[in-house]
Symmetry: C2
Subunit: 437 residues, 2 copies
């Protein structure tokens, strides 16, 4: 029998156990309507010909690099540069669509945003004095990467306007007093997963100021930014604001295109002074680290994504137009349906409340009772509706009276029926709690 | 200016610098014949239609999982299980072709062999007392993964019959005396990169015995095993021998299919006792860790590889037949050409010698002079032939009178001409050394 490695205890933690339970419940109640998966909706993609996108990208390679057909195709089949193959396309789209002006060599194409997080943490964190700050409830990808690297995480609460910045100040002071320091903070200012929170412009400015004053970096996760409605006056990405040189931006094509490509990117234009006194970019460090993790991101997958981007004029915004509108529509439907079914008389059931994000996939709902696996079982078996207990997004205790609703995976017709079932469940909830207690 | 992360110094080390230099020399002498790249030869693949392989795999999914076309295609576009999508195909091929009998759930599909190495090291190594043993010269992927995870590596020499097993005994004793222990040893018994070494059956038995006695695991890299000529009586993989339960086998489709898919696998059927007393497989630990590194291997890429495997009757051996024969042919040509050009009178130039592997991509050559960047520059500029200084495959000093020749990337006609150029270079070598000294 093997003695386990040092991560072993944490692999047994409730987080992974709960996700397993959730999957298991979903498989036992296949007819339940599920607000649980945060995965993108792919129905429109299932007839898509990925080959066409690859062909478009191969033509682009021939044109821009002066290659013949075999020379261009060879680049998709071989090992490729650790930094990536579509960096120029991504840098151009970042400039046009996000106002983020960096050279292609400041971009590293990664195996999804997850690898980008792992590489960035590994490159930045120097010793046990360095701490990562997150807002809780928090996306499990970043806390997982930190755990794999034995990096200490400190959480501040996620408020309705993003991370609690007073709490952040307090954390900085407390750590400094103990000889520790915040090295980086993970933040998703545009519709965080799982809370759906969007930060306003003033909070963004204050956060950038705190990072400057306390000398730490911001890891900005931009996964859901594309669901912003274009016309409205949303604040820019942190990376595009004054002080954006403190920001490492992490993006993914999982939602904008499809997750099965496993293509993401990281923008890291920060200069780093090497041991021998030369200056290079943080992106160079990330590319060197990447060669030790996955060597390079599949160039075939990069070609599919690069082709999809080219088919939309090289623009994130064009690529996002249809799907962004779809998710906007789903979110609006969900919020309207919650209102209609839960507040028929204009008032929500006692103790039930939720936020109203203007984009993203998620709604954060607070209940007056403990939200646990037993309650999920009742919801699934008797009311035919599923959701995610928010406690999954806390590393320790927390979120035990909250749940996450996702609108991304359902068809519009499912959303209304799901909200009706949820309303029925929530009306009865006090009784269930008494029974299961 | 950013202060660098804790890996920073090692990222500046000679290893990465030399690879940069090698690429730079190759780009300056594009007409040189290069024995440097260990990458697979892909000419026959450039007209291949990956779409056809995907279609074959989609049909397989429909048949084996009872899915309709959209249901099957959905599995390629969505997030997938961290463990993988083609585990059943890989497990079946391992059983048929390698005599390795494990259930599909003991296999984890990874982003190339590189991710498999990283995950395995992270799962196994418990604390700073655990040491990884390698044979030097050593594949840089494993030492890179160890470096990323701050795992200490101890090297034994790679002899003409694989790792020096007497030296290994001495390492075990020395570590034990210091309260340390070997946790795992990386070994590529079938034509190691960079040495081309193959271990004989007796050495394999002894190594398995040492692992049993000293209670460590063997990480068997099987990347080049497919180039064995089928008829000959090669020893089995370590994983297929008595004592193979001590072996974690790592494989890749980079050479068998193509590197751009970034698909590899790890076989980890060892039982692990969890903190709460349950038993699960090491593969379960690896899958959990993988969710923190890349979430899952691109199911689209797995479909391409799965389809290629199915198109060859689900057999590694069938899949390998043509390409294995091609590499066998190239290696034979290289060894014959070296003999013919370097030993016209039956004797090699003074102090020049090389091994004669029966498979794999690589030949290890010893020279009577220092093999460094200056010598490579001379070889490239005046003789039009490139190779890899062996010192790149040592973490510290070592290999400074050796080079690696690879036969994998060249066409047969290039090999003979390259060997002729190499011979001319080696005949003059004493003079060059005197001049550059």
């Amino acid at each position: 029998m093997l003695a386990p490695g040092s991560l072993h205890d944490s692999l047994q933690d409730p987080l992974l156990g709960s996700i397993g339970f959730l999957n298991e419940v979903m498989s036992r109640f296949p007819d339940a309507i599920s607000f649980a998966p945060g995965a993108p909706h792919l129905a429109d993609l299932l007839d898509t010909d990925a080959t066409r996108s690859v062909d478009v990208f191969v033509e682009h390679l021939r044109r821009t690099r002066g290659l013949d057909l075999h020379g261009a195709r060879r680049l998709l089949y071989e090992y490729g540069p650790a930094r990536g193959l579509i960096n120029d396309l991504v840098a151009a789209a970042l400039r046009t669509d996000h106002g983020v002006d960096v050279p292609p060599e400041a971009v590293v194409i990664t195996v999804g945003a997850q690898e980008a997080m792992l590489l960035t943490l590994r490159a930045l964190f120097r010793d046990a004095a360095d701490v990562l700050v997150v807002a809780e409830p928090c996306f499990v990808g970043i806390t997982g990467a930190a755990r794999l690297l034995d990096i200490e995480v400190v959480a501040v609460p996620d408020t309705d306007n993003g991370p609690d910045l007073d709490a952040l100040d307090a954390v900085c002071a407390r750590l400094a007093a103990r000889g520790r320091r915040v090295r980086a903070m993970y933040v998703a200012p545009d519709y965080a997963n799982p809370s759906g929170t969007e930060m306003d412009r003033a909070s963004r400015r204050r956060l950038l100021g705190t990072a400057e004053r306390e000398d730490f970096l911001l890891l900005e996760d931009n996964a859901y930014g594309f669901t912003k409605s274009v016309a409205s006056g949303h604040p820019p990405a942190l990376k595009a604001m004054d002080g954006g040189d403190r920001v490492v931006q992490i993006g993914t094509f999982a939602k904008l295109c499809f997750p099965g490509a496993r293509v993401g990117y990281v923008v890291a234009d920060q200069p780093v002074r090497t041991a021998d006194g030369r200056i290079r970019l943080l992106a160079d460090e990330l590319a060197a680290l990447k060669s030790m993790v996955t060597v390079n991101t599949s160039p075939l997958c990069q070609a599919v994504i690069g082709g999809m981007l080219l088919e939309h004029g090289g623009s994130f915004a064009e690529l996002a137009r249809e799907r962004g509108a779809f998710y906007q529509g789903n979110l609006t439907l969900l919020l309207e349906a919650l209102e209609r079914h839960l507040c028929p008389d204009g008032r929500a059931p006692q103790g039930v409340s939720w936020n109203r994000p203007s984009g993203g996939f998620f709604v954060r709902m607070r209940l007056p009772v403990t939200v646990d696996e037993a309650l999920l079982e009742v919801s699934a078996s008797r009311y035919g509706v599923l959701w995610t207990p928010m406690s999954q997004f806390y590393r320790g205790p927390g979120g035990d009276r909250e749940l996450r609703l996702s609108c991304s995976y359902l068809d519009p017709e499912g959303i209304d029926e799901g909200a009706a079932r949820l309303a029925a469940f929530l009306r009865d909830i006090g009784a269930h709690q008494a029974r299961t207690a």
